[in-house]
Amino acid sequence: MRILLIEDEPKVSRAVARGLMAEHFAVDVADEGQDGVELAEIYNYDLVILDLMLPNLDGTAVLRQIRRKNSGVPILILTARDTVTDKVRNFEAGADDYLTKPFAFAELSVRIKALMRRGTANQSSIVRVDDLELDRLTQRVRRTGKRIDLTLKEYSLLEYFMSNAGRVLSRAMIIEHVWDQRFDGLNNVVDVFVKRLRNKVDDEHDHKLIHTVRGVGYTIRDEAP
């Protein structure tokens, strides 16, 4: 899996590239728009991450040029511009996703996975994390064979956790997934919500599955960190 990162701020590109490489992606970095367009022409990338404020060639122009040559590659916009107008303009130019700085690496990583998975729906109906089992067809959840009753939203959250097992999910991502909106005012709602899910999933068990990653978010995994 090969990713092209077009970002002019070296520290940002270094940190993102390092994170992606830790997740076993191959990463090429272009620190300027024209280079990015040329690289995208030469190599068949699986994904392009594009900053909007670039020297010489503006991000949106880069986006249009890449789209003209290679219509299929998923393009994720990474930018400090967050006005609605900016977003609409770039979605119209062919962007697939939009992430505003500052962002958690975990969020970038989950979005990348989602973009790459797009179209290839090879999700099995049953997901397991240790002794916790979730059936997507019947929407039933069991732990050590014992049924756990969840509300719709709790199920949605647990399903989100389990599909991304081992990955840290930020509060912003949880809000977006469960309530379908982006708000930072709801952070404490997420905390309460996760706490309730924990009560149902982990309370009766010594072996905890849902973990807090301070300063980042929450994750589900079958081993202590």
């Binding site: 701020e9 940002v12 940190a15 609605v84 500052p102 690496f105 005012g185 709602v189 301070r214 300063g215």
Partner: protein, 472 residues
């Protein structure tokens, strides 16, 4: 209705007052001058008559007799027809000739009293007749070579002068108000003509706000003060335009400049936390730093939201929306927070309350108000959210039974970074920007927000947003 404080009215009035004063002065001097002239003229005529009789007829008297004197006088002066009074008498009182009543019978000459013999050669006297008529009489004494002295009196009714002067006064009294009224109207019209560009400038200037600073006032190529006024106003608007676009640029630049280092900080710290070989103590420090980075990011975001709303750098995207639906969907996740604190969160929502707004901004507003209410209400309390359609405004109220706001703090709650209770708010993670954002959002939607609160009993935030006519 005429605005009596307008420049137009005041100037026209001043003109009229000054004109009236000038005219009055003129009329008075004309009146006095004319009266003087008429008096003088009359006296001159009378004196000439006396002198003619005295020098041409009296010396002939001894030879031709008083009969001749009488007929000659009538022939020369015809006093009855001309309305004159003529009397010729000896100083001893013997009357040689007296004219008859004038043909208009304005006076009876026989009633005119005899004057004392004047000391000098001539004198002028006024005689008031019993019927009220005034006569003006010139008298002269002549001495014949034989030593006899005669008194010649020539008079006329003063009525003629009175009539002329009276006529003049009547003319002035009728004309003066008309002239002044005409001058007032003309002045008013002239002022309006010359001030019309000012009205136009006023109208256009009123339409210029921070969103259309590129507009300019109309220029009148008249070379006068008004052209200067609109030119300088335009220059001022141009300067405002420049500074506003600087502020807008600053906001856009600041968002980029602040976000990039925050991104790096966050990514680097996350990178370290993921590292498994760190000593546990250090992990705690890094996590704490990471939390503060998040808080800093939130503050930066909120400040940017406020400054954008304040400076209209982003024209907010308004569309008609059902305020009740928006409140209900926003309150739903907050129910969880309320339950956690054992609060009762109640919604009383009227249907079909439509407002024009940016849904994400309005959602933020609702969320901040509810979040605030829950935060400051102790367990067992109640938070009520109400949406109602008013007369012209949609009303959103968020009321709680919480700790309330002290009267000293109340005027400041919407200020940036203001905290009513420093310790408490810091623990609950806010930066004191929530209500400032609420107010900025209200302002951007042409709405209003008020707060009522009594300490220990609770607070009530009252938001009014312009209602739109629903066509469905």
């Amino acid at each position: 209705m005429i605005n009596t404080r307008s420049l137009r009215f005041r100037l026209a009035t001043w003109y009229a007052v000054l004109l009236a004063a000038t005219l009055l002065l003129l009329v008075t001097s004309i009146y006095l001058g004319l009266k003087r002239y008429l008096d003088w003229n009359l006296q001159r005529t009378l004196a000439a008559q006396c002198r003619a009789i005295g020098t041409e007829l009296i010396p002939e008297l001894p030879t031709k007799g008083s009969q001749w004197l009488a007929s000659e006088t009538v022939e020369s002066y015809d006093p009855e027809v001309n309305g004159y009074f003529i009397r010729i008498s000896g100083v001893n009182g013997q009357i040689l000739y007296v004219s008859g009543s004038p043909k208009d019978y304005s006076f009876d000459p026989s009633f005119v009293p005899r004057p004392p013999i004047p000391a000098g050669n001539d004198s002028l006297r006024n005689v008031k007749m019993p019927d009220g008529h005034r006569l003006i009489i010139e008298e002269m004494v002549f001495t014949n070579p034989d030593g006899n002295r005669f008194l010649v009196e020539s008079g006329v009714s003063y009525q003629r002068v009175d009539e002329v002067l009276h006529g003049l006064l009547v003319t002035f009294a009728t004309l003066l108000p008309i002239i002044i009224l005409l001058a007032l109207a003309a002045g008013f019209w002239l002022m309006r003509q010359s001030l019309r560009p000012v009205d136009e400038i006023t109208r256009r200037a009123r339409g210029i706000t921070s969103t259309n600073l590129s507009d300019r006032l109309p220029l009148f190529d008249t070379g006068d003060e008004i052209e200067r006024l609109s030119t300088s106003l335009n220059e001022m608007i141009a300067r405002l335009d420049t500074s506003f676009s600087h502020i807008a640029r600053f906001t856009a630049d600041a968002s980029h400049e602040l976000r990039t280092p925050l991104t790096i900080l966050q990514l680097e710290l996350e990178g370290i936390v993921q590292h498994h070989l760190l000593p546990p103590g250090l992990v705690e420090h890094i996590e704490s730093a990471l939390e503060e980075t998040h808080r800093l990011s939130r503050i930066v975001e909120n400040l940017l939201i406020i400054s954008r709303l304040d400076f209209n750098a982003v024209s907010i995207d308004k569309s008609p929306l059902d305020l009740g639906d928006l409140v209900a969907s926003t309150a739903e996740p907050m129910q969880l927070l309320a339950e956690e604190k054992s609060l009762l969160l109640r919604c009383e929502i009227a249907s079909n309350v439509y407002v024009e707004g940016d849904p994400s901004h309005l959602k933020q507003l609702i969320l901040n108000l509810i979040d605030n209410a829950i935060k400051y209400t102790p367990s067992g309390g109640q938070v009520t959210i109400e949406v109602a359609g008013g007369d012209r405004y949609a009303i959103l109220e968020v009321a709680d039974t919480g700790v309330g706001i002290s009267s000293e703090a109340l005027p400041h709650v919407f200020e940036r970074f203001y905290r009513a209770d420093k310790a408490r708010s810091r623990n609950s993670g806010g930066a004191g920007l929530g209500l400032a954002i609420v107010r900025a959002i209200c302002g951007a939607h042409n709405g209003e927000i008020r707060v009522l609160s009594s300490e220990g009993l609770g607070s009530r935030f009252h938001v009014e947003l312009p209602l739109i006519a629903q066509n469905k």
